[in-house]
Symmetry: C2
Subunit: 334 residues, 2 copies
Amino acid sequence: MRNLWLPTRCGILSAASVVGKTEKQGPLGACFDLHSPDDRFGQKTWEKAEAEMQRLALNTALAKAELDERGIDAIFSGDLLNQCIGAAYGLKDFTVPYFGLYGACSTAAEGLILSSLLVTGGTLRRAAAVASSHNCTAERQYRSPIEYGAQRAPTAQWTATAAGAFVVGSAEEAEVLVRGVMPGIVIEKGIKDSANMGAAMAPAAADTLLRFFAATETEPADFDLIATGDLGYEGGDILCELMQMEGVDIRPVYNDCGMMLYSRDTQDTHAGGSGCGCSASVVASYLLPKLATGDLKRVLMLGTGAMMSPQSIQQGECIPAVAHLVCLESKEEK
Amino acid sequence: MRNLWLPTRCGILSAASVVGKTEKQGPLGACFDLHSPDDRFGQKTWEKAEAEMQRLALNTALAKAELDERGIDAIFSGDLLNQCIGAAYGLKDFTVPYFGLYGACSTAAEGLILSSLLVTGGTLRRAAAVASSHNCTAERQYRSPIEYGAQRAPTAQWTATAAGAFVVGSAEEAEVLVRGVMPGIVIEKGIKDSANMGAAMAPAAADTLLRFFAATETEPADFDLIATGDLGYEGGDILCELMQMEGVDIRPVYNDCGMMLYSRDTQDTHAGGSGCGCSASVVASYLLPKLATGDLKRVLMLGTGAMMSPQSIQQGECIPAVAHLVCLESKEEK
């Protein structure tokens, strides 16, 4: 295999985030564009609420870029729901070519990669990447309805009620540059515990990161931040250990979107946040503004997805995972 | 919105198909590369069987192109299963960057579009598009396990047990050219009957086709075949009527992969075939060889996907649909 580091000439024009009540109460609460105090977003079902979050996120991102739907040539979107109905229903009123994605929690990064490559190649003028998750849709689908109050394992992550949207365009009009991307390879290392997805995803993150450092001849110190999304505390620790075993110490610049989204002291999310919307909202609302101002210069966003289903777990299968990397850079010489 | 007709300079090097027992007994039976007489492909569960079909299809397509996994830079794949486990598990042993897609029955076309655009732009040397469906996984997930013997509506389509894989590369090394692509827009016209997905998808197919003819200044007579995948008999009729209302008569060159896959006389599939693997296997095994020999000169493949889920139907939602178009051309001057 070629070591598929793909330099790009494009950037992110605008981004928007939409979150639920718990996320709004977290340490990044002030950063988000929109939230719903009851997680319902005015809808009758959780699934419709999640779809509405996708719609709101994309509309807000477009408004920030002073664009309407005619300004984008394609939408890349997905979510965790069966048949990705959050994306399909939420975005169905945009008269824009639509590419449905399934990358689990790596969806935002997957969408950013495809948007960036097709804008760089000149195929698309601009494209949007959108991703969402909702705690109540995910709990019902993957585990049990939240009303049951089922006990959670200490290694379990908390699916974020969050959506993020990004508008990708030329480097000239962008607020933050996308300098390159590296799509992930599906890695499966024998983890079967769906309450410990961080452990399942960490080897995929390590694989992509090691290939990235080799291909670009860089090291962790070349970056202000390496942000996975979302390994949580458990998977984040494992990733740092796996990298250390390969002689690469990422700890000084490492963080995880699932660790950033909630307060460990006041919000008990066990191993941290997860869900397609977790990294999407943290990058959109917290990391990109810091890159725009130059407070962060170079950031690696590493979207990590666990590609199992409840059925594959019931059938005794291990959890395959994938980690997609996006290299972001500030335009400011601060 | 720009009318997003995207000319490409690439082609399909090889393709392979893997089908189940019923498909093997159908009119295209002799065309398929591999089949399983019991639909199990040596696996213990239907889901594992479907994953195995994806693996076999890609391996066979690579072998036909005299390539191994090092010859392709990316895989674009999806299926109908919750969290797309057919693709993720079936292809996890390929050490190749992986992009998970969810486009329902349009997945093969969606993968061909993304592969073609990224090969044309020079981003990827070659890429593979893979899609699958399995009657027993789909029936259990969308309706009820086949053992129940539930009665089916006359407008219902039969989910094909089939997988198709395509290797996309440069025009020079290709057997069949991809002359351009047009991604679809999500269209929802108020159809709520999940036993009549053809009706839900036909408006999306009409939308893409009309935009295509307008953008390329072509008409149906410029093509030997316009093949949807998969509207079935019901949706195919509706599409022809919708086009007729716009003054475009596609009937002389129209067919549907779901109508081609099964015999209407001897195999009662009601409204015809469907499922991600239906168009994938028909194009891979039947249409591409005819294009390779010049028996067909110019073909429009129109992948159509119904983007609902059992849950969205239970919640009373309509069915959004998308139709992705791929324009195929023979290299032979026959």
